[in-house]
């Protein structure tokens, strides 16, 4: 096909494009993936039966604040990296704010209980499965983001994969809060962060292969 024929063929299909097309596409992928994650939670884990009590306790909002703020940062970064001229990502250091806040809350909580209870606070009842579940629940959201990326144009595939994995991990963890009965900050800081970090790592590994266009 010569270039004039190509241009003619391409110009036959010119639909209007919204200014917010990238954001909508990403939101669509995240929401579809989030529904998949919710289905997994209902099917495999069930909601926390004490949820109506848990939402009155600060620790529930602490967990949500932590995972959702990481999720927001990751989504903003993913939206940047979804464009070929992605710009700088140095501002991602703001993610240190939720992490350091959680560290501060954790230290405060530990100072209020005898050291003999620290290990129990750290391991909770579910440390063995928490990180794996967060990672598992991130997979549908990561799949949704992969669908979003099929129309987007990342030029830094590894970074885009990492931020998409981070977003999937953070939002997967946010939904996991609906099941998880744990209340201590150091538990969340360790095991949630581990699961979220694993999702980001896997995203960075598979990004260059799955996000090519």
């Amino acid at each position: 096909m010569n270039i004039d024929e190509l241009i003619e063929a391409l110009a036959r299909d010119v639909t209007p494009v919204s200014r917010h097309a990238v954001g909508r596409r990403l939101a669509g992928g995240i929401v579809a993936g989030g529904v998949g994650t919710l289905v997994l939670i209902v099917w495999l884990l069930g909601f926390n039966p004490q949820l109506h009590l848990a939402v009155r306790h600060y620790s529930f909002w602490m967990k949500w604040g932590y995972t959702a703020s990481l999720g927001v940062c990751a989504i903003v970064a993913t939206a940047r990296l979804a464009r070929p001229d992605s710009g700088k990502l140095g501002w991602l250091w703001v993610m240190a704010i939720p992490v350091m806040s959680l560290v501060a809350i954790g230290v405060f909580e530990m100072s209020r209980v005898p050291p003999a209870q620290w290990l129990a606070m750290w391991l909770g009842q579910s440390w063995r499965v928490c990180s794996s579940l967060v990672f598992l629940l991130s997979i549908p959201i990561f799949g949704g983001l992969l669908w979003s990326f099929r129309r987007l144009a990342p030029s830094r595939l590894r970074a885009a994969g990492a931020t998409a994995g981070l977003a999937a991990g953070a939002w997967g963890a946010t939904l996991y809060c609906l099941h998880c009965p744990e209340v201590s900050a150091i538990f969340v800081l360790t095991w949630y962060t581990l699961g979220i970090g694993l999702a980001a790592l896997v995203g960075a590994v598979v990004g260059p292969r799955l996000l090519r266009w």
């Binding site: 096909m1 270039i3 190509l6 241009i7 003619e8 391409l10 110009a11 036959r12 299909d13 010119v14 639909t15 209007p16 494009v17 919204s18 200014r19 097309a21 990238v22 596409r25 979804a82 464009r83 070929p84 001229d85 992605s86 129309r151 987007l152 144009a153 030029s155 090519r212 266009w213």
Partner: protein, 178 residues
């Protein structure tokens, strides 16, 4: 005559708003821009340049939703062009020609030779001067025993014994090092 940034951006936004005429004008105007871009970067492969220009035009069309109207059009365009070029190299699995490869290889061989020389000097430096001189003369400089004896003004049997003892000492030292 190349279209300006302002002109390209106007056509791009027209296309995004759904005007096929603007979109056609944009894609036509991009052909010489992209040809120049790739020609500067991969002079030796004219066929690849045509393929890449077509691929980039298709990408500009299919990924046009990723253009942010607040930003430079050329920044977006060349980011796509660069991505497509890198992807092209990667997919082809071909190596890019490195300018001055011969010089680099010579320089690398030089480095190996230098470090080997330094090793030899270090090892010989640990021997008595007479043994080191005998080994250097017979084993490195390629002299015969009699030539070495004449150069060092010593007896032939003295040269042989020095070489023998020196090599034995070196062998012992190398075994000790490993």
């Amino acid at each position: 005559m190349r279209a300006s940034e302002v002109q390209l951006k106007t056509w791009m936004i027209g296309g995004l708003d759904g005007d096929p005429a603007c979109h056609t004008l944009l894609l036509r105007a991009l052909v010489p821009v992209l040809q120049a871009f790739y020609r500067r970067r991969m002079q030796d492969r004219p066929d690849d340049i045509d393929d890449l220009v077509q691929e980039t035009l298709i990408a500009v069309h299919t990924r046009r939703a990723t253009y942010d109207r607040e930003r430079l059009f050329s920044g977006w365009l060349f980011a796509i062009a660069r991505y497509k070029m890198i992807d092209h190299f990667r997919r082809g699995g071909r190596t890019c020609p490195i300018e001055g490869l011969d010089d680099i290889l010579v320089a690398e061989g030089f480095e190996d030779a230098c470090s080997a020389q330094i090793d030899v000097d270090r090892l010989l430096g640990g021997l008595p001067a007479k043994q080191a001189a005998a080994i250097r003369a017979t084993r490195l400089d390629g002299l015969s025993t009699s030539e070495a004896a004449a150069r060092a003004k010593m007896g032939e049997s003295d040269v042989k014994v020095s070489v023998h003892r020196g090599l034995k000492a070196l062998a012992a030292r190398i075994k000790g090092e490993t």
